[in-house]
């Protein structure tokens, strides 16, 4: 039985939701960061599924760019985590509130 587009979309919706749940419930900045990567990946899966089912390469090219942006985001985000940890000795996002006044 061929797999339908709807099942790929449902899978990526579930993965995205798990990522959102992780971002909302976890307190460790690095785990929150990994959940964001999970969300990026589920959106990539949606793009590739549409690209394959519609026979258009634009979706796959977009996934290529999303991967480049994700790599840049990973480097900068982890650098921010390192400098936060150096200043506050914690990665608990409840204690990191220097942007709040």
């Amino acid at each position: 039985m061929p797999v339908s587009l709807a099942s790929y979309l449902a899978l990526s919706a579930i993965l995205f939701t798990i990522g959102v749940a992780g971002v909302l419930t976890r307190r460790n900045a690095i785990v929150v960061f990994m959940c964001i990567e999970l969300m990026l990946n589920s959106v990539n899966l949606t793009l590739i599924a549409f690209s394959s089912f519609m026979g258009d390469i634009t979706g796959q090219v977009l996934v290529f760019f999303v991967m480049a942006v994700a790599a840049a985001e990973a480097a900068v985000g982890l650098a921010i985590v390192i400098s936060l940890f150096r200043n506050k000795q914690t990665v608990n996002i409840d204690e990191i509130n220097i942007l709040k006044w």
């Binding site: 579930i14 999970l38 690209s51 394959s52 150096r86």
Partner: protein, 164 residues
């Protein structure tokens, strides 16, 4: 095949957000990335399946594990992960979000979820066709990506440097 890989992906994602130890979370996330790469192969996107493994599990996750090691978080499992009101609210919100998305995808009415796989899908994901698209139609975004990566390198170095 799809069902096995999909259930593995969901299981590893769930295990990832339920683990207390960030290193175990990272390992389950790597398993999840491998499952997603397999799904890309099932969708006949060969180049992106390889890139998924090389870029995500090879580069990004190594960076994440390296930072976990650098900050010595492996033993810091006591990080006040307590069950409180905020978590209940967020789980309710997330469930609503999932129902909404499944509703949009499943009942959009125009039958888009049941369309067959495109006949030329096998020719789309090859290195040849991706390269042709990247260097002709998408040449400008491709070059702009290099600027983005340069900015990211400089930004990461500036942020992670010791303040003097």
């Amino acid at each position: 095949m799809f069902l096995i890989v999909a259930s593995l992906a969901i299981a590893s994602a769930l295990l990832m957000i339920l683990q207390k130890n960030p290193v175990m979370s990272a390992i389950y996330l790597i398993a999840n990335f491998f499952c997603i790469a397999l799904l890309y192969l099932l969708l006949q996107a060969q180049l992106l399946a390889v890139l998924q493994i090389v870029v995500y599990t090879g580069a990004i996750m190594v960076l994440v594990v390296f930072v976990i090691m650098l900050l010595n978080l492996g033993d810091e499992t006591k990080l006040t992960e307590k069950f409180d009101m905020k978590k209940i609210i967020s789980v309710v919100l997330v469930t609503g979000f999932l129902i909404e998305m499944v509703y949009i995808f499943g009942f959009s009415g125009d039958g888009i979820g049941r369309m067959p796989m495109s006949s030329q899908a096998a020719n789309l994901g090859t290195v040849e066709s991706m390269g042709a698209a990247l260097f002709t139609r998408f040449l400008l975004p491709f070059e702009v990506t290099s600027l983005l990566l340069l900015a990211a390198i400089v930004g990461a170095v500036v942020l992670a440097r010791k303040q003097s």
